[in-house]
Symmetry: C2
DNA sequence: CTCATAGTATAAAGGTCGTTCTATCTAACC
DNA sequence: GGTTAGATAGAACGACCTTTATACTATGAG
């Protein structure tokens, strides 16, 4: 086997716990305990907690994009709407309680940390993704539209904490339709 | 004097530090040090760290609403736009790095904590605020519009981390105009 | 003057954190 | 069978955390 099953378990457990209680709110002890793994097993695979956080973020980013890619046909009539819908479904499936990347940016801001870079990289990619879509559709103000749609996604994520993923997504889809319609 | 100056200093310093590094990322030691105050002075005014967090949130909420109230004339032609604008200016003045209330909800979720209640209360109030505005303007689907505008504000806040407060606000204002225009 | 109030300094209890060390066990290979 | 490399459990480490305890100073009101 190319990758240890223990390592996968650790990543999975860590992602869930970090997601539920925040990076600083979860100790390695809890992760080790719930993963049924010895302390040294963790340190054999990850040199530090920070490194574990980094790999969790990388893994999550990979899953997010493969999810989005599999749900969005970029050459369809309305790839924007598909993207917003897909994002909403992702939120729902995660029983979402916030944005892990945004939290990483905030929690590790100003500490000269690779963690922040990874998280910011994800956000930038989201922006570029919508710019690419707008470009393909030949929208004039592609940059504005991309920024606005990204803002919508971010808003959807936040609102999920307040009114749930379904409702939040409904609203953002409605807004996205209006936007795309009135943008040359 | 009705309120201690030391207490005010503590609240001010704590709010800034919590805001910059998160609730769990800041220790009382640091707060005490930067406020030039003895340990027992803090504990004379706040029975625990959780209680300090609560009071910081309450104070911040108060400031936020008085800011919004002073910038939004509810009977004007476009109170919605004014609210979005005011929110943007608030973000800018805070040199914003995220939403303190959202972070509180996430950091203290599921711990049966008063902190979470306060933070959620703030979010609910935001929603009700826009419902009230929509009602006054006699919008048909006032509830939908209120949800959408709240989502816009949340998105603006998140996007600030990525592209700054000015740009984020520009985009949300543009979207808000479109929305209000095409809503009966 | 007396006495309460507010703040100060210092220290330590008791816990948890991330990390490392030790010592035992397992399993594969020669 | 003996050797070796890696995984395991669990203790130990030092740092830091929140909270409490004790004792001291300054101030202002009655």
């Amino acid at each position: 086997m190319s990758r240890s099953v223990k390592k996968d378990t650790l990543l999975k457990v860590a992602e869930r716990l970090f997601y539920e209680h925040g990076f600083r709110g979860v100790g390695l002890k809890q992760i080790i305990s719930e993963a049924n793994v010895a302390t040294m097993t963790l340190y054999n695979h990850f040199p530090s907690k920070d490194n574990l956080v980094e790999e969790v973020l990388r893994q999550r980013e990979e899953r997010y994009w493969s999810y989005l890619d599999s749900h969005v046909e970029m050459d369809s009539d309305s790839p924007f709407i598909l993207a917003v819908e897909a994002h909403g479904r992702w939120l729902k499936e995660q029983s979402y309680k916030g944005d892990m990347f945004l939290r990483a940016i905030e929690d590790y801001a100003g500490t000269d940390n690779e963690i922040e870079n990874i998280a910011r990289g994800h956000k930038s990619k989201l922006l570029r993704y919508f710019q690419l879509l707008a470009q393909r559709k030949g929208k004039d103000n592609e940059r504005d539209l991309a920024n606005q749609l990204t803002l919508l996604l971010e808003g959807t994520t936040s609102m999920t904490t307040l009114i749930g993923a379904e409702k939040a997504t409904e609203h953002s889809i409605a807004m996205a339709r209006t936007l795309v319609q009135y943008t040359s």
